[in-house]
């Protein structure tokens, strides 16, 4: 997420840090470079310009000159400015405590509305809401089928009508929700161009008819300069409450997030990562700003892990680590938990300092599949005490898992190394364990 942008800013910031005192000249140069970084990252031309002007104003002021470490101060100023552009503070969804809450999903074609609607429904149902998905995209072929299938896969009811009347579908869905004891209505509308007056009129009507607590504008994070125009038009027409950034698991620089946020003045509420239906995160501008500056996103990683980790399971694991009893059974559980959290590459991207190191590393998501297959081919006994794994057993496991003996051997060897590291981790804490295991590779 915003990796390239953070990498480039990181490089620029390093330049500043390497210099002694900030002169007017070298600040100007640096800011020019930052401007280029922002434009390359698809930050809108005007937004980038304003950003640079603000930073210049502050950087050339008294505080910089009197500062002991000018590099740190500039980093701070850039961080603050970025945070301000991204939204200042974090904003949650408005949900009615009683009665039906309506959430209207709008945006351009192909931005990811339908997938996000399903993800949001799942997220809300995880927090004990009873969502209803409403298929109001009557234009795109099979859009209604798509929502129905997604709804079925996550056990969320989907409301649709045979009639080609989006206004009516939206309006009737509210009664359906009330009659069926559902408390959160998520209306998935058709993608539309902001210049299409007829369709913009339709979505404005739907808003008026359903009186939603939240109107969310879904935008593809790969969007370029025009993001400000479409966001502005949608905002003028339906006065949306928040922004959803999708496809953030790609390598887009995501500069449109800064642009839209600063042009329409609405908060970015969600980040939608990947095609798995639980890959949706709340948006935290401060974290994103710190991530842009290459500081990583430990907090997000921690939270993401917490949502999935069962406390008891974690306690058990810690106990096992302490007693050095971590076995293949536990390993398999860990793999499953990690898979639930999303792609491995998205997890790695959140660890501070690691993003530049891992830039060229190709994370093989399929490695997990093979590891799982190998462990699944082991007997319970073998999983609990890997020591019994002799040649014949290894051969059988390789056959059973469709892998090779070499792969099985490699896994067993890596597992032994991991056990070692895990026990050190439990005893000395993570930092020390990493220091002592420089040669450890997970691949």
């Amino acid at each position: 997420m915003l990796e390239d942008l953070s990498q480039k800013l990181e490089a620029t910031l390093k330049k500043i840090r390497g210099q002694g005192k900030i002169t007017e000249k070298n600040v100007t140069e640096t800011l020019r470079e930052i401007r280029r970084v922002l434009l390359d990252a698809d930050v809108n031309y005007k937004v980038a310009k304003e950003f640079i002007e603000k930073v210049t104003e502050k950087a050339l002021g008294q505080e910089v000159i009197s500062s002991i470490t000018p590099g740190q101060l500039i980093t701070r100023i850039i961080f603050d400015e970025l945070t301000e552009l991204l939204g200042g503070s974090h904003s949650e969804l408005k949900i009615n405590a009683s009665g039906v809450t309506v959430i209207l999903i709008v945006g351009l074609q192909g931005s990811g509305k339908t997938t996000f609607s399903a993800k949001l429904a799942k997220r809300l149902s995880n927090s004990n809401r009873k969502p209803l998905l409403v298929a109001a995209d009557i234009y795109r072929p099979a859009a209604i089928d798509q929502l129905k299938m997604l709804g079925k896969s996550i056990n969320i009811p989907v409301f649709s009508l045979d009639e080609k009347n989006a206004r009516k579908i939206a309006e009737n869905s509210l009664n359906f929700a009330r009659e069926n004891g559902l408390d959160t209505v998520i209306i998935d509308t058709a993608g539309r161009l902001h210049v299409d007056e007829e369709l913009m009129g339709e979505v404005a009507d739907i808003k008026q008819l359903t009186n939603p607590q939240e109107v969310l504008f879904v935008v593809d994070s790969m969007t370029g300069q025009d993001a400000v125009n479409s966001a502005k038009s949608f905002n003028d027409k339906v006065d949306f409450d928040g922004i959803v950034l999708t496809k953030m698991d790609g390598d887009s620089r995501g500069g449109c997030a800064l642009s839209i946020r600063s042009v329409v003045g609405k908060p970015i509420k969600f980040i939608s990562n990947g095609e798995k239906l639980d890959a949706v995160e709340s948006f935290h501008p401060d974290r994103l700003a710190s991530r842009i500056l290459g500081k990583g996103d430990v907090i997000s990683l921690v939270e993401k892990a917490q949502a999935h980790f069962d406390d008891i399971e974690a306690d058990k694991l810690e106990e096992k680590l302490r007693k050095n009893k971590f076995d293949f059974e536990d390993f398999l559980k860990q793999i499953k938990l990690i898979k639930k959290m999303g792609s491995l590459s998205s997890l790695i991207g959140m660890i501070p300092g690691i993003s530049s190191a891992m830039k060229n590393a190709n994370v093989d998501e399929k490695a997990f599949v093979r590891i799982e297959a190998i462990i699944n081919s082991m007997t319970k006994e073998e999983r609990r005490s890997p020591k019994v794994l002799n040649g014949n057993r290894r051969k059988r496991i390789a056959r059973g898992s469709g892998t090779s003996i070499q792969e099985v051997n490699k896994l067993i060897k890596q597992f032994a190394e991991m056990q070692k590291m895990m026990s050190k981790f439990a005893q000395k804490g993570f930092q020390n364990a990493m220091m002592n295991n420089k040669n450890f590779k997970f691949n």
Partner: protein, 314 residues
């Protein structure tokens, strides 16, 4: 054989009219108001170009060219500045748009196989629907393969387009190996002597190595079935996309032998300026542009008309 014979460039111009008006209005405002060609105008030009998603470096490059060209000329009128910029932009596009016939010899290749690739939500399926309609209309038999076996209802979506275009479709259950769909589609086309095959693939972000590998496999499967196949591999780009489109073109060309681009959603205010950069860096021609959701809203791309449409005044 030339497709889209009765191509109507008015529609293309309509599609791009918002773009054109914006740029031309800006140019007229800035240039006619000032006597010289000072820094402010150049900056305005920079803004116009950058906000069209042309890319910062490309914008600077174009402006530098214009500066140099104008230096030796006394004529710094609005017309001349426009003419100069236009020439520079056309030159960028022409570098990669040297061909002019779309289907060189269908009998020779029969079946003529087109693979459609791109990131999620770019407009691949819609593009296939429109292409199928055009091929069919020009008297060719067409079959489409629904090799997006991943996304919910992708099958159904293509099926509806196939019905609208009146062409055959091969589809399998969700979760099937997409290469097997591609294989069956091509096999059926060979067996039934069908002219054109189009394979729709799942949207994939270009940084997902496993999905890109899957695409590579689809390509290999098609290659094995027919010589020189796929004859065309089109990368579909959302016209709203910013600089990331350049990376998309780079990454997709690593796993598939890209032969052209289709730029979609150009009926909004997005400028599709990223075309210039991809053409200059990747030497990939733009074959079509999408200008709406109707089955007829696909236009052949033509460099001069494209640039003319951006800059010509009504």
């Amino acid at each position: 054989m030339k497709l889209f014979k009765n191509l109507n460039f008015d529609k293309l111009r309509d599609g791009l009219s918002k773009t054109r008006e914006k740029i031309v209005n800006k140019l007229t405002e800035t240039i006619s108001g000032k006597a010289k060609l000072p820094a402010e105008i150049l900056e305005e030009l920079e803004e116009i170009l950058v906000t069209s998603d042309i890319g910062f470096d490309t914008a600077i490059q174009i402006i530098d060219e214009v500066k140099i060209k104008l230096k030796s000329e006394s004529d710094r009128s609005e017309e001349n500045i426009l003419r100069t910029i236009k020439a520079s932009l056309v030159a960028v596009l022409e570098k990669s748009n040297s061909y002019n016939e779309f289907l060189p010899d269908i009998e020779k290749y029969k079946p003529f196989i087109i693979l459609i690739v791109g990131v999620n939500g770019a407009g691949k399926t819609t593009t296939i629907g429109k292409l199928a309609y055009n091929f069919k209309k020009s008297g060719l038999s067409v079959i489409v393969g629904a090799a997006d076996t991943f996304r919910a209802a992708a099958n159904e979506q293509l099926e509806i387009w196939a019905k609208r275009a009146g062409v055959e479709i091969v589809q399998k259950k969700n979760g099937t190996d997409p290469s097997s769909v591609a294989f069956e589609t091509v096999a059926k086309a060979i067996k039934e002597n069908i002219d054109v095959v189009m394979i729709d693939t799942a949207g994939r972000l270009h940084n997902k190595s496993n999905l890109m590998e899957e695409l590579n496999k689809i390509t290999r499967v098609i290659q094995k079935q027919s010589n020189n196949a796929p004859q065309e591999t089109f990368l579909v780009l959302d016209g709203n996309t910013g600089q990331n489109a350049v990376l998309q073109a780079e990454e997709f060309s690593k796993v598939a032998n890209l032969t052209g681009l289709v730029i979609t959603k150009l009926d909004g205010t997005a400028k599709g300026g990223v075309v210039f950069q991809i053409c200059s860096k990747q030497c990939l021609p733009v074959r079509y542009i999408g200008v709406g959701e109707d089955i007829e809203d696909l236009q052949s791309f033509e460099a001069n008309a494209f640039v003319d449409a951006i800059f010509s005044t009504k």
